[in-house]
Amino acid sequence: MSVKNYQSKDVEKKWYKLWEDGNYFKPREGKESYCIVMPPPNVTGKLHAGHALNITIQDALIRYKRMCGFETLYLPGMDHAGIATQGVVEKLVYEKEKKTRDDFSREDFLKKIWNWKEEYGGLILQQERAMGASCDWDYFLFTMDQKANNAVKKAFVSLYDEGLIYQSDYIVNWDTKLQSAISDAEVEYKEVQGNFYHLNYKVKDSNEVLEIATTRPETLLGDTAVCVHPEDDRFNHLIGKIAIVPLCAREIPIIGDSYVDMEKGTGCLKVTPGHDFNDFEIGRRHSLEIINILNKDGTLNEYGLNWKNLSVKDARKEIIKELKNLKVLIKTKNHIHQVGHGDRSKSVIEPIVSKQWFLNVEAMSARSVDEIESERTLFWPKQWENTFFSWMRNPRNWCISRQLWWGHRIPVFLCKDCNHQFASEVQEEKCRKCSSKNIKQDEDVLDTWFSSALWPMTTLGWPDEKLMKEKSLMFFSNILFSNRV
């Protein structure tokens, strides 16, 4: 104690070891239980200031409650972070071996990712210890551990058998760099300087012309209707007639829908159900054809005509030139608009219609809203409730599939002989209907958030009843920490 200035290094090391070895982090019998499930950091992660903040206040609360006589548990974990981790390993493999994931079998590439995880993953766990996190490490779970996988399969099969999980052609946020669908939450909107291109579409057997304004003229190659407001006297006499799409000469119906804003723009909307979220809904309402003009990598497919295989960016340039030449493009106006970008790849998101797996969240989100409204769960500060409500009241169904390898593989099997599709918690060998061995498991994996959503239950043993009884704490994690809802 004669040391003048406090020497933190030795003291910190000494006490962490004494606490951990002396089992001081384990839950001790108390009046009530108090559990905080640490938001599992990514396996790719290195501790940053945000983590440090999270750990500090969670650990402060845990230590406080522990000293107040609660049976406390600070539950640590780690997240496999599908897109992030696969991205890191793909980059490394390319740097070292100049190979992409398609040069390997799925199994072999997954082995590479597991190897990377064993060697480099989890650095963050040591750093959490350095911060003083008083976790019971015996409860530690990784989101791709067998226990986690069991929980995911159980939840999935249960929801599937109830009919809440379904496949659908749906318009999704397609990341052309990652070549996967991403959720609304993973899209970042950035302001981009663009243009409104005003184009003239001819009406068939008539001298009349409809003026359409668009920021993405290349998409006209996928147009399947032109839409006007039924009460707009300028155009409603044309409803039911045919318009002709420039460049590809496709004949498309002129439809009436109140979605069109008569006051704004030209009053005429081109409808591209395959490449715009709002147009997709209009297409649903009017049973329009869906045309997909893009390849998975964001280049134009055969619907691209002369501009086939060009990127959207390049095709747009060329198409504008051609439209000018044909005197279809009558004016160009500057326009600043919000364009969605993938938050990982930073590339422009192209809405695309593709077959994906969805979870119907209607009933579940209503129940969640009820939990907050009944104050069984409280937000601190309270005003965050409003953000929660804006997300959870009338949410779109959740797209849970990802075109990646690193993640929980969707436990659905398709029989190639009789076309029967079924979900199962075990690795099936035969079709449940016709017993054929010609069955294949779905290629896609689940959104990381699917396993994360189950985390408070998975970490406490669910669905293993025996495990759940052993854990002395009831399933009731007291508090969730987030920096946004």
Partner: protein, 386 residues
């Protein structure tokens, strides 16, 4: 998680959802590689220790949306950690003769009742703020108690007793110091676990286990001494005013001054008179007179206002008031010139928009500091101008 939890277990998985702040750099910008403004936690832990880092993060966390992390703040809280360490080092030799006995309330003197009651109030406050996720309030509460009340005042007042000859008084004072320090480390443990566990090793009784599982301090009605708190806080305020007046007049530390106190009521008069010797210990005065406000104020003096008390510092040949007024006026002039230069920059939109953000920040800080300096010089001048 709420959706899945209620679906499969039919209960909500959480009672509370706490939205914490987002960490930014000291200028409020997102930390990024390109800006080179990141703060690496591991480096910070190496440099300042985990406890200082934790205290900084906690003290910036409540219901705010962003936390602007300033390395200087971390350094500042590191000094706080050191202060606690040094306070302990001071007390430690006296602890050797202390016992494991509980505090005897009947034996407490006025200052001891004061500090116990102040500690009690803080304990009530921090328990409440912990439960409302106001970590910033918790940290502030503990910081001010430890830094000001405990270290600056109680330990200072204890020195004569600890070095004195009255063994009975010394024994009691040591008991109180030990009790208070134990409560301090318990209170701080959730935020700064390492240093507190280390100090606990020297403070605990032989049959007590580690700090991490000790009982957290709670408010005790029997340790509430509101009258002692009120009186002592008035005393502290009054002494601070004496110190300010000395500073404003540039009185050298070794020079003694003559003070007259004018108070509202006779109970405060008796209190100050009973505690005169402490005024002598704490502020190098030659003489003190305590009078009621109904009496005439002294001529040739400067006045400072404290709670319920007017403090007069008598001007005698030791203090050349005219010289002092001139001195302050000169400094004020100089500072205003400096301020005007900086003010021009701050009001120039070209500068604000074109200079680098950290340069702008530096200039803005200087602007604030000079403004404050002018303010205090003007107050100083008015307090000594008759």
């Amino acid at each position: 998680m709420i959706m899945m939890g209620t679906k499969f277990k039919d209960i909500t998985p959480f009672k509370d959802v706490y939205i914490h702040a987002i960490v930014r750099d000291k200028l409020g910008r997102k930390m990024s590689k390109s800006l080179g403004n990141g703060i690496d936690p591991i480096d910070t832990i190496q440099e300042h220790g985990a406890d200082a880092f934790r205290f900084t993060l906690a003290s910036g966390s409540g219901y705010n949306r962003t936390l602007n992390l300033d390395p200087e703040r971390i350094g500042g809280y590191r000094n706080f950690i050191n202060k606690i360490w040094n306070a302990f080092r001071f007390i430690q030799p006296f602890l050797e003769s202390s016992s494991d006995e509980k505090l005897n309330i009947s034996k407490l003197d006025h200052h001891e009742r004061w500090i116990i009651s102040e500690l009690n109030s803080v304990i009530e406050y921090i328990n409440k703020s912990f439960n409302e996720y106001r970590f910033d309030d918790t940290c502030n509460g503990i910081y001010h108690f430890v830094y000001e009340k405990f270290c600056s005042w109680f330990i200072e007042l204890s020195k004569p007793i600890l070095y004195g000859k009255d063994l009975e008084k010394k024994k009691n004072r040591v008991q109180v110091l030990k009790y208070t320090f134990r409560e301090i480390v318990k209170s701080l443990h959730p935020i700064t676990p390492f240093i507190t566990e280390e100090l606990w090793g020297e403070l605990k009784n032989s049959d007590e286990d580690l700090l991490i599982i000790q009982q957290y301090p709670t408010f005790k009605k029997e340790y509430l001494f509101e009258q002692d708190q009120e009186k002592m806080n008035k005393f502290i305020d009054m002494v601070q005013v004496i110190r300010n007046l000395r500073a404003n007049l540039n009185v050298k530390p070794k020079e003694k001054v003559n003070i007259q106190l004018f108070v509202n009521d006779s109970s405060l008069k008796s209190y100050f008179e009973d505690n005169k010797r402490f005024i002598f210990e704490l502020s190098n005065v030659e003489s003190i007179e305590v009078k009621l406000k109904i009496n005439e104020r002294p001529e040739k003096s400067v006045m400072g206002a404290a709670i319920d008390t007017e403090v007069f510092l008598i001007l005698d040949k030791a203090i050349n008031l005219e010289e002092q007024i001139l001195r302050v006026k000169k400094e004020l002039e100089k500072t205003m010139k400096e301020f005007n230069k900086v003010d021009k920059k701050v009001l120039n939109p070209k500068f604000i928009n074109n200079a680098k953000p950290d340069v702008v920040e530096k200039v803005k800080k200087e602007h604030e500091e000079l403004k404050e300096k002018i303010d205090s010089l003007e107050k100083n001048l008015s307090s000594i101008s008759l």
